[in-house]
C-alpha cells in the first residue's frame, strides 16, 4: 500500500519535471538557458520515473537492469551537457547578456557614487 503510493508519487513528479523541462526547452530565449532547463530537469526526472517503475515491479532481475539504466543516465547527462556547452562556446555561440539593464544599473550606481562624492 505504502509502496504503491510511493510509486505513484514518483511517477507523478517525474512526469511534472519532464513537462517543465520541455516547456523550458521550448520557451527560453537563449541557447545556454535552454541547455540549463533541459539538463537539470532530465537529471531529476529520469531517476524519479525509473524508481517509480522499480517500486512497482519489485525485486527481480529487471529492477537490477533498471538500476543500471539509472546509473548510465546519471553519468551520461552531465557529460553530454558539459561537452555540448563546450562545443557551442568553441563554435561561436556567445551568451547573450541583457546589456540594457546592466548599463542602466551601472549608470545608476555611477551617478549615486558621484553624488556621494560631491556631498
Amino acid at each position: 500500500m505504502i509502496i504503491e503510493i510511493l510509486s505513484d508519487m514518483c511517477l507523478l513528479f517525474g512526469g511534472i519535471f519532464t513537462l517543465t523541462g520541455a516547456i523550458g526547452l521550448l520557451r527560453l530565449p537563449n541557447f545556454f538557458t535552454r541547455l540549463h532547463a533541459a539538463s537539470v530537469t532530465e537529471s531529476l526526472a529520469a531517476p524519479l520515473l525509473i524508481v517509480g517503475i522499480i517500486l512497482d515491479t519489485g525485486f527481480t532481475l529487471d529492477s537490477a537492469k533498471l538500476v543500471l539504466i539509472i546509473i548510465i543516465m546519471v553519468v551520461a547527462n552531465p557529460t553530454i551537457t558539459h561537452a555540448l556547452c563546450r562545443a557551442a562556446a568553441h563554435g561561436g555561440v556567445n551568451p547573450d547578456m541583457d546589456t540594457k539593464n546592466n548599463e542602466i544599473s551601472q549608470s545608476k550606481t555611477e551617478t549615486e557614487i558621484s553624488a556621494k562624492e560631491l556631498k
Binding site: 511517477l11 513537462l19 541547455l35 526526472a45 529520469a46 537492469k65 548510465i72 553530454i80
Partner: protein, 88 residues
C-alpha cells in the same frame, strides 16, 4: 499514475520535436535530439512496464548507451563547425 506519466512523456516528445525542427542553431538541434532520445528511453521503460512487454529493459538499456555515444560523436563532429566560415 502510469497513464499520467505516459501522457506527460508524449507531450514532452512533441515539444522537444518542435524545438528540434525550429532551433535556430545546430547546437539547439543536437540538444533537442539528445533530449528526445532520453525521453524515448523513459517512454520505453514506462510504456513497456504498463503494457507488459517481454524484456523491454534490455532495449531501453541499449538505447541509452547508443544515444550517449551517438550524441558525443555528432558533437565532436560539429565542435569546430562555423556556418559563416570564420575561424573563432
Amino acid at each position: 499514475m502510469i497513464a499520467a506519466a505516459i501522457i506527460a512523456l508524449l507531450i514532452t516528445l512533441a515539444l522537444t520535436l518542435i524545438r528540434a525542427f525550429l532551433g535556430p542553431n545546430i547546437y539547439d538541434q543536437i540538444l533537442a535530439v539528445n533530449s528526445f532520445g532520453t525521453k524515448t528511453v523513459l517512454l520505453i521503460v514506462v510504456g513497456g512496464h504498463a503494457l507488459g512487454w517481454f524484456s523491454y529493459v534490455d532495449i531501453a538499456l541499449m538505447y541509452a548507451l547508443v544515444n550517449f555515444v551517438g550524441t558525443l560523436a555528432v558533437m565532436r563532429f560539429f565542435e569546430q563547425y562555423n556556418p559563416q566560415g570564420e575561424q573563432s
